[in-house]
Amino acid sequence: MYNDKEASKIVDIIKNFARKHSLWIVAYGTGCGAIELPPTMTSRYDAERFGIRGSATPRQADVLLITGYLSVKTLKRVIRTYEQMQEPKYVIGFGSCTINGGMYWDSYNTIKALDRYLPVDVYINGCMPRPEAVISGFIKLQELIAQGKADGAKRYQENLEWYRENQRKVIKNWRMPEYNW
């Protein structure tokens, strides 16, 4: 009875509903924000009631949390981690360091705007954001997923040239593998 377009719409709604209730985070902590994740995960704030859980490897995870400042050396590893992740994948910028540099605004070795290098879906501000803020950020991400607006991975593929150019500007000695999606 349905035409293809409507059918795919319904499939998308079901897919997004399932995705938003199963967010696996890569166990990768950059900077100081990673210390806010254990209380978020454990009994007091219990993020698992929203379907948020930790995952051991990037290939089995959905969400990459950038928890705090990113030095150029870490950025290299983060880019590799992000490119290893399989779709659907989302990035959450965590803390003011990822937004505008935070207290490392004049540092010689940290980047100041994360969305120049990786596609960010949700920013959580604060220094540090408390577990309530983290959970509210995740709920925002869930809303975006349900609406089909969390399209960071798609943006990354479409604007890969622009992201690569920015990445190469700070990573001077480029020895990164090229992934073929």
């Binding site: 050396k73 540099g101 605004w105 070795n109 980047i111 100041k112 990573i171 001077k172």
Partner: protein, 195 residues
């Protein structure tokens, strides 16, 4: 007062008797400061380790005295036997930053020396591991030297998101509030080049 610090004063006396040019003094309980010429450092550290029982290199740090055109190396030694911390200070030339390694006395000195080589550009002869350590692909002058302008480097290399133009210099704000003056040496090496 002398009665309370028998151990400390005895150690200071021993140091003064052996190294006549050493400036050794008591700082407080369990803590002495020794200032030495840089060429006396290897024999002094060896003496301190073997005869004064300072077995442990607790810390090793570097200070950039750009006003005097010198680097200050600070060795912090600890003696388990006497329960005394000895702070050994020496100054080396800043232009030709070279010193000898002490890794034959304490192995952990090697790691500290690698760090100083990277962060201050000091070359330690005898240490053959002075390679890239924490920074990757660094191509400017060593970043912990005080003549390195970190803000300018950051501006040139990293994108700055607009919206922080009204950020204030902390030092300026504090001095304005309390009414005290910024010392001249601080003005000269301040990030914003105050006048």
């Amino acid at each position: 007062m002398d009665k309370d610090f028998i151990n400390e004063n005895k150690t200071i006396e021993e140091i003064k008797n052996t190294f006549h040019s050493a400036e050794a003094k008591l700082q407080r309980k369990n803590r002495i400061i020794v200032k030495l010429r840089s060429d006396l450092i290897p024999p002094f550290l060896s003496y301190a380790k073997n005869y004064l029982s300072f077995d442990h290199l607790a810390h090793f740090s570097c200070v950039d005295w750009i006003e005097d055109n010198q680097f200050e190396l600070v060795y912090i030694l600890y003696s388990y036997e006497k329960n005394i911390i000895a702070i050994v200070k020496t100054r080396i030339d800043r232009e030709k930053a070279e010193f000898v390694t002490v890794k034959h006395l304490w192995r952990q000195a090697e790691t500290f020396e690698r760090e100083f080589h990277e962060m201050y550009g000091i070359n330690f002869t005898g240490n053959n591991r002075l390679t890239e350590f924490i920074l990757e692909d660094w191509d400017d002058i060593p970043p912990m030297r005080r003549d390195f302008d970190t803000m300018q480097y950051s501006k040139e290399n990293f994108y700055t998101r607009p919206g922080r133009e009204d950020a204030q210099d902390v030092r300026e704000v504090i001095t304005k509030k309390s009414g005290e003056k910024i010392p001249d040496f601080a003005k000269e090496f301040s990030v914003r080049k105050l006048k």
